[in-house]
Symmetry: C2
Subunit: 299 residues, 2 copies
């Protein structure tokens, strides 16, 4: 199996290490030549990925930002083979998938949008690791949901890197959901830590788990996230507006010194959490059943 990787940051670097560990041959490139050289020296890649090698790759992962990914596809589409599967790893999907689907139709290439749901607070090749994707979800955004053959192949390739559940989505649904599940925690965490009390608490007191959980992702690459936020500004703006409106209700109840209203609001949130968790449990039950039936089948 030959794997090509464009961009050797946290995601690309971790993909390289994971596929190397799984026994694949990995070719990679980064816009920063030093990173490419370092990845070679660290044996995360077997060699540099250049145009001459494109057609040797079974898959090429594009692990750069959406704007760069679109540029890369526009420049390189004519040199890509029909035998190579192209998967981008961008955190927003509508723009990059539109460009990818167009390219795929024009040049007869196999392209799927993708989103590996894993990360760390700090990016770059130096923070990449072979186990970043162990049991992590991967969302695939194919143009043609009927191409089962292609999707089965891709699923197996992703499982080689350690991914657990592979799920499927449209670009529109992906971007709507991701605004809530990933972009919002990052933006709220980043805003939350700006409270003047943040400094005070560390001088004098230690804090419990909820604070740690809440501020874990406040540290982020502001340029990368800005690109993703701006791309998804319709969905993210709607989520922000909804949260602000909700927080204003709690604020009003506190201002009114109204415990009944506060109880009602908190109970409502508790019930939502319960409902969502039940759906989550059902989902993971499905995954477990899928995995155990696979284990039974292969035993």
């Amino acid at each position: 199996m030959n794997i090509g990787i464009v961009g050797l940051g946290l995601i690309g670097g971790s993909l390289a290490k994971a596929y190397k560990k799984a026994g694949a041959t990995v070719l990679g490139s980064d816009q920063n030549n030093l990173t490419t050289e370092f990845a070679k020296m660290a044996e995360a890649i077997d060699g540099e990925l250049d145009e001459a090698h494109f057609s040797k790759c079974d898959v090429i992962f594009i692990a750069i930002t959406p704007v760069e990914a679109i540029k890369w596809m526009e420049q390189n589409a004519p040199r890509l083979s029909r035998e190579t599967i192209i998967i981008d790893c961008c955190g927003t999907k509508r723009n990059v998938c539109k460009a990818g689907y167009d390219m795929a139709r024009r040049y007869g290439i196999n392209y799927l949008g993708g989103h590996p749901m894993a990360g760390k607070e700090k990016g770059g090749f130096k923070h990449s690791s072979a186990d970043l994707f162990d049991d992590a979800p991967f969302i695939l955004v194919p143009d043609d949901h009927n191409n089962l053959n292609l999707m089965c192949k891709v699923k197996k390739i992703l499982q080689m890197a350690g991914f657990g559940r592979i799920s499927f989505s449209t670009a529109e649904e992906h971007d709507k959901v991701i605004a809530f599940t990933s972009q919002m925690p990052h933006i709220v965490s980043n805003g939350f830590i700006k409270s003047k009390t943040a400094i005070l608490h560390n001088k004098n007191m230690v804090s419990a788990g909820s604070y740690k959980d809440f501020t874990r992702v406040a540290y982020l690459d502001e340029k990368m996230w800005t690109e993703l936020f701006i791309e998804n500004r319709d969905n993210l703006g709607a989520e922000l507006a909804a949260l602000i409106a909700e927080l204003q209700k709690y604020q009003q109840a506190l201002e009114d010194n109204d415990p009944e209203e506060l109880i009602r609001l908190l109970k409502e949130g508790k019930e939502c959490k319960s409902k969502v968790d039940k759906l989550c449990d059902l989902n993971s039950l499905e995954v477990k059943q899928e995995k155990s039936s696979k284990a039974t089948a292969s035993s």
Copy 2:
């Protein structure tokens, strides 16, 4: 060592189990007789704590809500011994400490405010466990910071239950800081999960760590938290207002399609996170040094 515990919920139940494990004799009581009986049967307590046993206790922990704790102290102060240390475990401190200090002065009792910084999403005796406080912080709020003798004694008693860092605070500072570090994550998490997208995401896609961290504490006991929120409404209201104002800046930058402003806002948050983390590291360095010098001294 004889430990008395008033209230056998998550905190009181876990204290009981931790002290039993450490070899102490534990007497406990709960307003629900069935809970007291169950705790006896589960051998979390050696017997029921009633008035007749108050004077036998080296310490009595009051692990009920602030309003109930104040009521308990008013009712029982005349029957408490000067030899027994009284520590409440309430999540807000100004009201309960004022009542406790008054009682202590009037009856010559040793009372300290306290806050064990540990918890679980689900409360009650059935979720209590002997290891809940392992290495957890405990904030002590003594009236007289000069009574070193008493504070040293209390520190040792708390370490028996597994607590790691014991820190000291005033009631005012505690309530200000706790509004940010603990109450805010609970209220924001509880509001966040109400997004209409919450249900959608579970039907179709799994989520990464940031979502899980962000919604962990959305499930909460609405009555207990309402009492704590209302008690601390000045501090909590100010934190909520600050976060809403901050989120509105991101919202405006998205609405204006202004990546420069968004980069500036995210960088500002990243720098705050860095600064606060550095202070945290210094704090935990101090704790480690304290622990290692203790280990050296005892070896």
